[in-house]
Amino acid sequence: MSAGESIIEVSSLKKAFGDNVVLKDISFDVKKSEKVVLIGPSGSGKSTLLRCLNRLEDDYEGKVLFEGENVNGASKEKLRLLRQKMGMVFQQFNLFPHKTVLENITFSPIKLKIATPQEAIAHAHELLKQVDLSEKADAYPQSLSGGQQQRVAIARALAMNPEVMLFDEPTSALDPEMVGDVLGVMERLAKNGMTMIIVTHEMSFAQNIADKVLFMDDGMIADSGTAKHIFKETNNTRTQSFLSKVM
């Protein structure tokens, strides 16, 4: 796939929880190596949108295409393969507490036969180096700080060699002094050309990293464009009012 081609295409996506309509007609696309940042007030549907992309949220209307393949129509087996290509990082880290850091990272590649145990372990050590946690390979998650846990979670997702990384408020549960380390790892990832979709409240980070910013409000993309457009030039009053509250 050449640069500039869409890796994810979302069209007319609608999602409701019972009577509560959370996403109303969302369409956008993500190109290879592009960094797309979703911002907006709490409850605007950012996380739900992200979770529809790898179908952690099911039963939605509309279409999500990943590398041209239909995510919402995929069979269970197909969906598993699609999910392997979409790494996800959660607000609450969700490391497996009964496995060591190394086992957290190597479990899926070995289980899914993507790598031999030797390869998976070598890859894991390499990834731990990238997130500056080489010395923690044999530690259990509970003994790590939040920032460390989140970096392990990033390494765990990267171990599957994903095409895209989805970040669901990766720094929202962290103490302020830990935020920088995690954002640093994400910036390095971005520089290496990873395609990233990021839900975040870190506005200066968003401004620096984003090729495209989607401002979501009330289940819709209320405004979108380059970081420069959203943060400096937009005439959208809702965007302006949101940014004035958070910056």
């Binding site: 999910r83 790494g87 479990f107 289980k111 997702a157």
Partner: protein, 228 residues
Amino acid sequence: MFDFLKQYYPVFVEGTAQTIIISIIGIMIGILLGLIFVMMRLSKIKFLSYIARVYIAIVRGTPAMIQVMLIYYTLSKVLEVPQIQFLGSGLDRVIPGSIALGINSGAYTAEIFRSGIISISNGQTEAGLSLGLSDRTTMFSIVLPQAVRNILPALGNEFISLVKESSVLFYIGVQEVTAQALGVGGTLYDFVPPLIVAALIYFVLTFILSQLMQLLEKKMGRKYLRSN
């Protein structure tokens, strides 16, 4: 008061061995059934979930003694078990008896497993699925090991009560500790001393079991805190 032990201790040894064996088989069947029924209970397929609910409700709502007798008399009509003697009782009684204990325990174990699974945050399942793992792998390799750790104390209680309740197999003629004590009592025309011995044996068995469970809990708890 306990002079009779000189003569009758082999009977108690045999009864104790029988109690241990039917308990171990009962616990193993209980764990197996507990796992099967909790998966059914939590299944999205309504019919399976319904069957599991009915099983749990019936077992919890009826006396263990009646369950044991019903299973024994039903199985003895269906199953042809050779009348081989095993620790003083026929296998035709020991086998249905152990199965009955397992069926009874399975309902409680299923509910304990369910409480454990519910206690694990949904984020664990989502993390597993997001890595491309199947529902089954996520359940068996991610959720269940953590759930088991959380429910060890409750599971220990269930095992202990199974050991004690194995005494109901007396009603179908399994020569476990209680049956043996009553037998000795009948010969002596005095039931109190042999029943005290039986009570002591149960106490020692359950005490050892609870110590083993505590050891397991400590071991699993410590491991998770290792820092490098």
